[in-house]
């Protein structure tokens, strides 16, 4: 903290375009009420680099902003699918459908699940709603579409990419991971969407109750 001069922080808040929206302790842009801490800045950087505040549409046709409405202050899971995918997506989505049952009352209250289409040109609101119904998603599990460029920003932001652009562009090889996180606490991890259902649910629960968890071999 020693080198974090007030001037630097003022400059930060003034120059960062999204600062006002995300800095919990700051007032209006350029006029922080309290100097942001290292943690505040780290959280803001995570948002800026990884969690773009792009517009999306839910399976109910509701317009939302990715960071503001879906992520900020929440415990979440993020994954990608497309409705006509016949390889990895049905397995992952079917697994998550089982995971949601294990999450019980936490889903929709302490935890929110989000699935994003990779092919918004095919997956309009109706398509993702039907896909969602087919998998018997419970309240708290939202399916989303939007503009391809915005969805790509999210995909790249959360690291669901390959270094080889050819593979990265091949949607049949898309990343089948489930990203889980606790946004305010800056805890993020991921697990394979095709891992054993109980272990996926267990991993997600670490984010819901980060204060205390001990391994299965332990207690």
């Amino acid at each position: 903290m020693a080198d974090l001069s007030r001037r630097n922080l003022l400059r930060w808040t003034a120059m960062a375009p999204l600062a006002g929206a995300t800095m919990a302790v700051a007032g209006k842009v350029g006029k922080p009420l309290v100097e942001p801490t290292v943690s505040d800045l780290a959280r803001q950087r995570l948002q800026q680099l990884h969690l773009p505040n792009v517009p999306l549409v839910t399976h109910e046709g509701k317009k939302v902003m990715f960071y503001d409405d879906l992520i900020q202050g929440k415990v979440v899971t993020l994954n990608f699918f497309f409705a006509k995918c016949d390889e990895v997506c049905p397995l992952v989505t079917a697994n998550l459908a089982k995971v949601q049952k294990l999450l019980g009352a936490d889903l929709g209250t302490k935890l929110f699940m989000y699935s994003f289409t990779l092919k918004p040109e095919e997956d309009d609101v109706d398509a993702i709603r039907r896909y969602r119904e087919m998998h018997h998603a419970r309240p708290g599990w939202t399916f989303l579409t939007g503009k391809l460029e915005d969805l790509e920003k999210i995909r790249k932001g959360i690291g669901f990419t390959y270094p080889d652009p050819k593979i990265d562009g091949d949607k049949t090889q898309h990343i089948g991971n489930v990203r889980y996180g606790n946004e305010p606490l800056m805890l993020w991890g991921s697990c394979p969407g095709m891992a054993r259902t109980q272990f996926v649910a267990e991993s997600i629960s670490w984010m819901i109750r980060p204060e205390g968890n001990s391994g299965p071999g332990a207690l």
Binding site: M1, A2, D3, L4, N8, R11, W12, M15, A16, T37, V38, S39, L41, A42, R43, R45, L46, Q48, L49, H50, V88, G157, G159, F160, Y162, P163, D164, Q173, I175, G176, N177, R179, G181, P184, L185, M186, L187, W188, G189, C191, P192, G193, M194, R196, Q198, F199, A201, E202, S203, W206, P210, E211, G212, N213, S214, G215, P216, G217, A218, L219
Partner: protein
């Protein structure tokens, strides 16, 4: 045709921009315009810390899939960007000066007189202990291995602040406190352990509960400490699934006993299985990369009657700790605006930093005497491979050989003279450097291995670079493209500066040139009970072993189903590690016993670091490596996993267990 450093075609105009960018950056540095304030003033730095894309002058922030080579540290000021000709996507830590701080040497851990409550054979759950099973060692021999051995350590994992460079603000890290009143350190206190002297460490999680205020952006305060790669009973191994929360502890019994003590070399074990350079680190499933990056690593040096730590006795290796120095290497990224350590939480491939740390500080120097030293080099990751050369900046054409004496902590039969050694994450080499020939000089430990991303060392087509070689600003020279790209002497990453005193001194250590003999390699003649095949692959971005993913299970009832196969206690096996994942190199680690590399793609190994006993083996793209194992003495659960910890955290791990005869299985592809 013009190419960038990733081998992608670029236009002539872009190529020129790239060269100009490198030149601009150097000019800025030469002009002393390296502070953020200066760059802001000139409008060259954006708020996000990226250099403005102007005339090709650009650098991207951390958090992208492709990071680039770090600062060429031959400069006194490392600018945080590459000196080579690269596309506009370098990482961009703030500038730091090199070689202005002394190498920290980790203090030796001190014992405690007693632990309260006293350790128990069965886990003391009521007191908050988290251990999966009773101690095995006292059940084998309660006289040799008493439940409460005379050597006790109390280690607490704590959060603390420390300086990693005078040019950066204080950093919030996690480290180890041995309760001697000397504070918390990262790397942690070095254990000085001895064969024949069992010991017990109480590892207590005293990290703060995670809150919005005390999290600096990464790390999960839930831990399990693995002693890599001791011949340890499974309940004390620090299994990734045996993690525990704040306020809990685990008593870990380290018998310090040779493999074979309870089987083929009873009662004392096989002297040729002696271990020397071990390390301990957090192994929390799915969060190991973050937690080790945040500091939870340390050394464990194990001595015996031959490798004594005293150059007047035994093998006469340089005396510990004065002339026998552990060196932990890692690479990190700092936020260009705040100077705070950052970690890319959203990366699946592997993470590279643009700042090089040794023993917890950026590019230190070490004052040495003109004599032989033993260094124990450890790559703590997360994902970088190193190839270590000795470089004299005033004589870049000189070859400066040194001696390799140990691989993964296991002394070789004899020293091998080398000009470089390559290690990947979690691998160790012990080397002897004789500074007498450098008396009065300054020399450097230089990493000349080119690595562009988490895939491993770059396998770059030398043709690409030959085409660019007309422009020396942008050229990279490949000595041997089959072995990865080695940068020219002086163009690599300067990691550590040795300032060699000119005053001659007595050297009582053995001269490796006399070809001293250490241990013999244990034979690999035993018939393998079974040959198992492991395929390491990427399935839809998910790292897998034989198409399956890491699974800790839930609850005791769920745990047993997570074991992928069962090894018969005191048997031999061969494992075939097959890497199908294209361009990736996986450093694969197997717990419990050291292994031998029998072949790579059916050819016996020839590289010096492949010749000895190992516990991490690099498996290169499209390679099948054949390993020989014995599984002796202990029972219970152990993992096999990739030690590129980002891969490990994304499920490239499998649990197996050692079982009594009659309960083993014959699964060929687990």
């Amino acid at each position: 045709m013009y190419y960038n450093v990733f081998g992608e075609k670029v236009s002539k105009r872009r190529f020129k921009e790239m060269c100009d960018a490198a030149k601009n950056r150097r000019e800025l540095i030469a002009a002393g315009l390296t502070s953020r304030r200066d760059l802001f003033k000139m409008g060259l730095l954006t708020a996000s810390g990226m250099l403005v894309a102007k005339s090709g002058l650009s650098a991207r922030a951390y958090g992208q899939t492709q990071t680039n080579q770090p600062p060429s540290s031959g400069q006194n000021t490392s600018p945080g960007t590459n000196q080579n000709c690269v596309p506009g996507n370098q990482t961009a830590s703030p500038p730091t000066r090199a070689f202005i701080q002394a190498l920290p040497i980790m203090p030796i851990a001190r014992t405690v007189a007693a632990l309260n409550p006293a350790p128990r054979e069965n886990p003391n759950i009521g007191a908050g202990e988290v251990r999966s099973a009773p101690f095995q060692a006292p059940q084998i021999d309660a006289t040799r291995f008493p439940v409460i051995p005379s050597i006790l350590y109390k280690m607490n994992q704590r959060q603390f602040t420390t300086s990693q460079s005078p040019d950066l603000p204080l950093q919030t890290m996690w480290g180890f406190d041995d309760n001697s009143g000397r504070g918390t350190h990262s790397p942690g206190y070095t254990y000085q352990a001895h064969y024949g002297s069992p010991q017990l460490t109480r590892n207590t999680n005293s990290l703060p509960l995670v809150t919005q205020k005390n999290n600096t952006g990464f790390g999960f305060p839930s831990v399990t400490t693995h002693l890599h790669n001791a011949h340890n009973p499974s309940e004390s191994d620090g299994n990734p699934c045996d993690f525990y929360a704040n306020g809990h502890f685990c008593d870990q019994y380290y018998p310090n006993v040779l493999a074979g003590f309870n089987s083929d070399h009873a009662p004392n074990g096989d002297i040729n299985e002696s271990l020397g350079t071990l390390w301990y680190h957090d192994h929390r499933v799915d969060f190991t990369s973050q937690n080790t990056y945040k500091g939870l690593v340390g050394f464990y040096c194990l001595f015996n009657q031959l490798d004594t730590g005293d150059e007047g006795t035994g093998f006469h290796l340089p005396s510990f700790p004065q002339f026998d120095i552990p060196l932990a290497f890692n690479d990190k990224v700092y936020d260009p605006l705040t100077g705070q350590l950052v970690f890319d939480l959203f990366n699946l491939d592997g993470i590279l930093g643009d700042k090089f740390l040794v023993n917890g500080v950026v590019q230190p120097f070490l004052q040495v005497q003109p004599r032989r030293y033993r260094f124990r080099l450890l790559d703590t990751g997360p994902s970088r491979f190193y190839e270590f050369f000795l470089t004299d900046k005033n004589n870049l054409s000189a070859t400066n050989p040194y001696w390799l004496i140990s691989t993964d902590g296991n002394l070789l039969p004899n020293p091998i003279q080398v000009t470089s050694t390559r290690i990947g994450p979690a691998e160790r080499v012990d080397v002897i450097i004789d500074f007498s020939k450098f008396a009065g000089k300054t020399i450097y430990l230089e990493n000349r291995l080119l690595q562009l991303n988490g895939q491993g060392p770059a396998a770059v087509d030398s043709q690409l670079f030959a085409q660019n070689s007309a422009n020396t600003e942008c050229a990279l020279v490949l000595n041997d493209p089959t072995k990865g790209a080695i940068k020219p002497a002086g163009a690599g990453d300067f990691l550590l500066q040795f300032r060699v005193s000119g005053t001659p001194v007595h050297d009582g250590s053995v001269d490796p040139a006399t070809n001293p003999t250490f241990y013999q390699l244990p034979d690999t003649n035993a018939e393998a009970r079974i040959v198992r095949t492991f395929k390491f692959d990427r399935l839809n971005g998910q790292w897998s072993i034989n198409g399956q993913f890491m699974d800790c299970g839930i609850g005791n009832s769920g745990f047993s189903e997570t074991f992928r196969f069962a090894v018969r206690q005191n048997s031999s096996e061969q494992w075939l590690l097959t890497n199908l994942s294209g361009d990736w190199t996986h450093p694969l680690h197997i717990h419990l016993e050291e292994h031998r590399i029998l072949s790579r793609n059916r050819v016996a190994p020839t590289v010096p670091t492949d010749l000895g006993r190992k516990d991490v083996t690099q498996v290169h793209p499209n390679e099948r490596v054949q390993l020989f194992f014995r599984f002796r003495d202990w029972l219970g659960k152990y993992p096999i996993h990739c030690h590129n910890v980002v891969h490990e955290d994304h499920a490239m791990m499998a649990l197996w267990h050692v079982v009594p005869p009659g309960q083993e299985d014959n699964i060929l592809v687990p």
